[in-house]
Subunit: 293 residues, 2 copies
């Protein structure tokens, strides 16, 4: 059925929600460049007839490699022990297949690790050294932990709480997917797992909607935010209303953030309750549109 | 408000869902004894005016200490590397406060560890050695990893996929709570995190409903099962219908299991799609009711 229905492909990305830092203006151009590149990478996959999962993963991988402003892969925020622990998850709407990895210390692309769990493992979520080992076995480049620690993060030149990355995509066959990748929260305890690698909290995709969240991760877990949004859509709420109500619920838990959401009909929502959220959209045949805040 | 409303306290427990093993008859009495003891322990907390979270935790701690038939704490199933990795989570409905630990190897009571996260940490989910360390700092008894490995599990005398434990409770002030604890899935990869420690997947509590799940964990994650049930109740479905529809959705992902659910009005549901589920109920002033399968 879905292979017959031709829809206009769309991809959305975010580069994290958080406070509007004084230095934002100075780096807005660089953030917009990074998001634009991620959108074009994901969009190219969709243009070639690729599915939504490939596109969302490609966009996130592109942002993971950005080391100066985005909190994923190299350049992630530091834990209280001075190390970097990265997490990621992705989900394919058609069959709700999902994969996730948490507490990675050596895998260059956490989202590729999540994809390896989806493809190669009977499990959904793997954490710690076993997760890095599976990623290694799947051919994902391994680097020493020090590779991920940048001078900018050591000197705390990157503002707090910003820079989790995510993408949601709708392919030409009507398939949806969501992907999220993060270095977590600055100063987090080693061993802390936030919402980004958790299906239903930071990431969700089904036949109706795809969602990727960013913000105070604990509140997004306690709100089951990504799944809450999907449930609201099933219950009949319009995508934008469902997205806004979900952020209101997160706010009722005392937290802020943002999310990107995409409906199977091409509806788009990118609300945020934090001061700023880096975000962008690509549609087949149109210019990419990006906002650093 | 809720402190004025006096409701009849209730606690439900489960001891896992799975296949109906030939040896079930021989151990039914022992399982029912263990569940009955857990119900009385949790019920006593409620009788003393304790809140739902204390009661659910007490019931689960009691089952964690059962080493022969239940897959939590000592006697948990073995990972593919021959070790035991335990996980647990709990959630208080009133304020959706939550705590969880995963991949524990030395903490005698994983659910007490989850409670320590709720009480002492800004995070919701901690995993691995850092989680055991926090549990230790919180005064939770630490044992060498070998303590948790029983001869019955080494000889695979305990049937597959059974024995995750959980409890949901309603206190006299109308407060709900849910708690779940597990050793995971037999032969799981080290580092695998299932649904039990994941808020929204294996465990959920809010102002309306409390849920604890058991079964093929990956499908419960992909269904966001515990939160799905809660969302259905918010959307107007009766508790039993919401519970049945949630298990149907899990079945659509090719998996079986069961759950216990409790409404703020005292409504109870304990459905299972697996061949059997150990379960029981305590109500203030009544005899406990337990079923081994």
């Amino acid at each position: 059925m879905s292979t017959l229905r031709r829809v206009q492909p769309v991809i959305l990305v975010h580069g994290g929600a958080g406070a509007r830092a004084p230095e934002l203006a100075a780096r807005a151009a660089a953030i917009e460049r990074a998001l634009g590149e991620a959108l074009r990478r994901g969009g190219a996959a969709l243009d070639r007839g690729g599915d939504a999962l490939d596109a969302a993963q490609a966009a996130v991988m592109c942002m993971e490699d950005e080391a100066d402003f985005l909190n994923a892969g190299r350049g992630s925020v530091l834990c209280s022990d001075g190390g970097v622990e990265m997490s990621a998850s992705l989900m394919r709407g058609r069959d709700r297949a999902a994969g996730a990895m948490a507490l990675l210390r050596t895998s260059r692309s956490p989202i590729a690790g999540a994809r390896a769990v989806l493809e190669r493992s009977p499990h959904v979520l793997l954490a710690g050294p076993a997760a890095d080992a599976l990623a290694d076995a799947a051919g994902i480049e391994q680097r020493p932990p020090a590779y991920f620690i940048t001078e900018r993060q050591q000197r705390r030149l990157v503002q707090d709480g910003r820079g989790t990355v995510g993408a949601v995509a709708l392919d030409g066959a009507g398939g949806l997917a969501a992907a999220t990748s993060t270095g977590g929260a600055r100063g987090q305890a080693a061993g802390r797992i936030g919402d980004s690698p958790l299906i239903g909290a930071g990431t969700w995709a089904d036949g109706r909607v795809a969602v990727s969240c960013t913000g105070d991760g604990e509140a997004f877990i306690r709100a089951a935010a990504a799944h809450q949004l999907a449930g609201r859509v099933v219950a009949g709420e319009a995508l934008a209303a469902a997205a806004a109500a979900t952020l209101d619920d997160v706010a009722s838990l005392g937290a802020r953030g943002g999310l990107i959401a995409l409906g199977a009909d091409g509806a788009v929502a990118m609300p945020f309750s934090a001061e700023a959220m880096a975000r962008g959209v690509w549609r087949a045949g149109a210019e990419v549109e990006v906002h650093a805040a």
